[in-house]
């Protein structure tokens, strides 16, 4: 990979919807899938374009933003500090549930452990105190219980239904 004194290496990534991204090497190497691509193709030319057929441009842009910030945090020794928490909180604040799901699918495909951890935690937090109906809608799940079966399960865990938020 990049040798000392050389200019910063840029990695080219191409999304499913045909957009080309130019990403700094340390950021692109956060994606396990990109890293193994270059590990397996050691003599790949510098201008090799890595195809990402399962990711579209919008979530990829979001992922690059997240990983870029976290690579910098680590370089500055800020990992685990308040400014990271602040960044993470800002990062998800404006994201809709749909965007979060797109991000988690993309992070899963690209295999970015740290981000995947953060996103699953975020979704778990959004589901706390939510009704069963909300959760079904969130995940796009169809209820396959008969009304009687559902009633029986609800009765079994009646105590768990106190204090659920309004949808």
């Amino acid at each position: 990979m990049s040798k000392l004194g050389q200019a910063k290496r840029i990695i080219f990534l191409k999304t499913a919807d045909g957009q080309l991204f130019e990403v700094d090497e340390p950021v692109a190497m956060e994606f396990e899938i990109v890293k193994s691509f270059f590990d397996e193709n050691e003599d790949a030319a510098d201008d090799t374009v890595v195809p990402l057929p399962n990711v579209s441009a919008e979530p990829l842009a979001g992922i690059i933003e997240f990983c870029k910030a976290h690579v910098e945090f680590r370089a500055n020794g800020a990992a685990g500090k308040d400014e990271v928490k602040k960044f993470n909180a800002e990062y998800i604040k404006e994201k809709s549930n749909e965007q979060l799901k797109e991000l988690i699918l993309a992070a899963n495909y690209l295999n970015i452990k740290e981000m995947l951890d953060f996103l699953t935690e975020t979704i778990a937090n959004r589901l706390k105190n939510k009704s069963v109906e909300y959760v079904r809608a969130f995940f796009g799940i169809e209820n396959d219980f008969t009304p009687q079966e559902e009633e029986a399960v609800r009765k079994e865990y009646e105590w768990a239904f106190e204090g659920v938020d309004e949808d």
Binding site: E98, E142, V153
Partner: protein
């Protein structure tokens, strides 16, 4: 609308507090199976241990009804989270006795030989078979609940050292171990016939300890 794969859903659910999770059992049949899976309980336990903001310790009282108290929640003003109550799982003349607790499970004894395993978090309980040995008030009785990682099973130990033993070096002890997976009691040798032990064991570093006299 994107759908998430099952392993990601399982990961998300393992981070949701149990109370909310129990409701999510009614989302669909697949989730019911997922949340009821013992593998899932292990994942949840691992997540809870990794998350140092969760207080892993609670007080369990053998009052009537039984109570579990989250003593670290004191003073946060959410009183309904402080204490949870549990009905006795069986008719009992005497107070319940705690035989041991391990990984959030509590083993309880009612009226001397009715044993139950309770998960105060999910409120699930299960009656255990009765051990063979009986005891009188004069006998030394020791007991404990532990988890054996290598075979992934919980075990309940109950030992009775007869008060009518012949001398301090030949104690008449009967020790039984219940393996939860097979749900059967088996007898083991009492290893230290020169030592007397009595009462509940202390679970420390995955091993049950008793103080001998």
């Amino acid at each position: 609308m994107p759908k998430l794969p099952r392993d990601i859903i399982a990961d998300i659910l393992s981070r949701v507090p149990i109370k909310h999770l129990m409701q999510f059992k009614c989302v669909c049949k697949d989730w019911y199976a997922l949340v009821s899976d013992p593998q899932y309980a292990k994942m949840q336990l691992k997540q809870a241990r990794a998350d140092n903001t969760t207080n892993m310790h609670k007080l369990f009282l053998t009052t009537w009804p039984l109570q579990s108290i989250d003593y670290e929640a004191f003073g946060d003003g959410v009183s309904r989270n402080l204490s949870r109550q549990f009905a006795y799982p069986t008719r009992s003349i005497y107070d319940a006795e705690i035989l041991g607790s391990c990984n959030g499970l509590v083993c309880l004894e009612f009226d001397y030989d009715n044993l139950f395993l309770l998960n105060p978090t999910t409120r699930d309980s299960r009656e255990l078979p009765k051990p063979d040995s009986t005891s009188t008030d004069e006998d030394s009785v020791f007991y404990g609940l532990g988890y054996n990682v290598s075979v992934d099973d919980y075990k309940v130990v109950k030992g009775v050292i007869s008060a009518a033993s012949n001398g301090p070096n030949s104690r008449d002890a009967k020790v039984e171990v219940l393996k939860l997976k097979t749900n059967t009691w088996g007898r083991i040798q009492y290893p230290h016939s020169s030592i007397n032990i009595d009462g509940p064991g202390i679970l420390l570093n995955d091993t049950v300890h008793w103080l001998g006299t």
